[in-house]
């Protein structure tokens, strides 16, 4: 129950090819996140899984069953949308039960499912209200509840946190993680926010221009990226890319990647420059250093007492360097 297989998915809108040969397997109970910059095709891929778009080519299997020709309502999926997409004319209770009522489920079953969702998300006070009377966070909880009620094989989340403010985003993120733990269900989650991807996912799929760049656990992508795109996309502040020649690194390597937190301040380090800007975040300080090889971001824990305009020397351990060839591919 709840596995997903995508085989050779191709999709284009007009002449614009948005997905190119996507192959993917998701196991039952996995929390998988599609992440990538806007326009990378991640939402289109989610809509293809949901059955809301028909791919030009390729197969979609849900729970071992080929669902290419199956309409969205029959695929045993539930989707949570960025804009919540609650039915404005229905109460919270009716919003949540509509799917099951359409499918002709028994009313006792519907009642049980609703009370399950209500309990998990503490929706009791809102059951008789219309969406217009709820705040953004409450609406998103109702939308998640509507998905739970359907007891789907696959939960699909389409940027569910994008419309929430920062504090609510953290809370809802924790809520979603808790739901996944309790329900043990398979989740496919789309976001452009790499922090959401890192904090929620068991498996991240990085997409760019309609292609899968890399698949792996958050730490695998962080520590062992396949190419410069993944290295730069995962992690914040982003990885620094320094010309290999500047560091005196020979061989095939064209670029060397070093994470901001891997720098140490050292007068006789391999890199030197002047501080162009400082960000004091309390627990950490981001130092922006102008070097002959461009701007480098350095992350120091705690408060660093430094001055803008001052000279600074930087160093790092050799094993923290990642090497990339001139095409941006990782050299291992």
């Amino acid at each position: 129950m709840g596995s997903l297989v995508l085989k050779n998915i191709h999709m284009s809108f007009g002449t614009n090819e948005v997905l190119k040969d996507i192959n993917l397997e998701v196991e039952d109970g996995e929390f998988v996140i599609f992440v990538g910059p806007s326009g990378c095709g991640k939402s289109t891929l989610l809509r293809i899984i949901a059955g809301l778009e028909t791919p030009m080519q390729g197969d979609v299997e849900i729970s071992g069953q080929l669902v290419n020709a199956m309409p969205a309502s029959k695929r045993k999926i539930a989707m949570v949308f960025q804009t919540y997409a609650l039915y404005p004319h229905l109460t919270v209770e009716k919003n949540m039960s509509l799917g099951l009522r359409q499918a002709g489920a028994a009313s006792s079953y519907i009642k049980r499912q609703i009370s399950l969702a209500v309990e998990m998300l503490e929706l009791e006070p809102y059951l008789k209200r219309k969406p217009a009377e709820l705040s953004g966070g409450q609406r998103q909880r109702v939308a998640i509840g509507r998905a739970i009620v359907r007891d789907p094989d696959l939960f699909l989340f389409d940027e569910p946190l994008s419309n929430l403010d920062a504090a609510l985003r953290v809370n809802t993120r924790i809520e979603i993680a808790r739901l996944h733990r309790e329900l043990q269900s398979t989740v496919i989650y789309v976001t452009h926010d790499q922090i959401e991807a890192m904090t929620l996912a068991q498996k991240i799929i990085v997409l760019r221009d309609g292609r899968i760049e890399q698949v792996g656990s958050p730490m695998k992508l962080y520590k062992d990226p396949d190419n410069m795109f993944v290295a730069g996309f995962i992690g914040s502040p982003a990885m620094n890319f320094i010309e290999a020649g500047y560091l005196g690194v020979g061989g095939k390597a064209a670029t060397v990647g070093v994470r901001p937190e891997q720098f140490t301040l050292s007068r006789r380090g391999r890199v030197s420059g002047t501080i162009s800007h400082l960000e004091h975040l309390g627990a950490e300080t981001n130092i922006f250093v102008n070097t002959d090889s461009g701007l480098i971001t350095v992350r120091q824990f705690g408060e660093a007492s430094l001055d803008i305009g001052a000279g600074i020397g930087l160093d790092f351990r050799d094993e923290d360097m990642l090497f990339f060839d001139s095409n941006g591919q990782r050299l291992r």
Partner: protein, 279 residues
């Protein structure tokens, strides 16, 4: 973007402009109504004066009710207007939804084709329309008028409504699809209520020209049983003598149904019920 500041002179100027416009717009209507309650002599002697005990007269209304079948005309007008509006809104919204929602070959071409009617006045085709109506035995029926008005109103309706349909959240429609709603239910239950303001706009745009039209009733349905109010009122306008009392009275009464329809559309439909659907 700079916000307009609500200073006292600004507000005064705006209200002065609006008041001036209101006076200009209402003046002819007021003139019709006050003169419909006056004797014929008083109308010509002092058209701007209000009726007083000496000049007050209901002779116009009496003539209207005595001659011609005023209520039948009004009923015909109402049937034609309401039926035309209903079909314009229904088919316009459906076509707009299809153009906005579905990707199919020739979508843009179809949209363009449907919009061409905006640029070409339907009256240019009057002779052909009359031939069609004669051939299909629809002359002197209200159906003929409804058909023509629907054809006349559809292009602009489709144009406006498809624009509004595009703004309805895709997520909402997709949520409906996942919950197993049919495309018809998505259209009628989810989408139509959200474009109510646009429907009201289209309705108001189409209502007045249909109600006031003289051309097509005169050509396609001049028979006594199918006369509309505008056409019916023409019996009082003669080549040599015009019964102004009757004309003005008929016009005063003709205004009310359309006024009521307008109030329904503007009050009932243009309501901010969209809030809460998304965001």
């Amino acid at each position: 973007m700079r916000r307009v500041r609500h200073t006292v002179p600004n507000v005064l100027l705006a209200h002065a402009a609006l008041a001036a416009y209101t006076v200009i717009a209402l003046f002819p209507i007021l003139l019709i109504i006050i003169n419909s309650f006056k004797t014929r002599k008083a109308i010509f002697r002092d058209p701007l004066a209000l009726p007083n005990p000496e000049t007050f007269s209901l002779v116009g209304f009496e003539t209207v009710f005595r001659q011609g079948d005023f209520f039948l005309y009004m009923q015909n007008s109402l049937i034609v207007t309401v039926a035309s509006l209903f079909f314009i809104l229904l088919f316009g919204a459906m076509a707009g939804f299809a153009l906005a929602e579905y990707r199919f070959k020739g979508n843009t071409l179809m949209a363009l084709y449907l919009a061409i009617g905006i640029m070409i006045p339907i009256r240019l085709g009057t002779i052909s329309i009359l031939e069609i109506m004669v051939a299909t035995n629809l002359v002197n029926t209200l159906t003929a008028l409804v058909l023509v008005y629907v054809a006349q109103g559809l292009p602009l309706a489709i144009f406006i409504l498809s624009e509004f349909m595009r703004q309805v959240s895709d997520d909402l429609k997709n949520a409906g699809r996942i919950d197993g709603l049919s495309e018809y239910r998505i259209f009628f239950v989810l989408v139509l209520p959200l474009v109510r303001p646009a429907l009201a706009t289209v309705a108001v745009f189409n209502m007045i020209p249909i109600w006031n039209d003289l051309w097509f009733p005169l050509i396609l349905a001049p028979g006594e049983a199918t006369k509309t109010l505008t056409l019916g009122s023409q019996v009082f306008i003669g080549q040599f003598v015009t019964d102004w009392n009757a004309v003005l009275s008929a016009l005063s009464m003709a205004m009310f149904p359309v006024l009521i329809l307008y109030l329904i559309f503007s009050k009932q439909l243009i309501r901010g019920i969209t809030s809460g659907a998304v965001k």
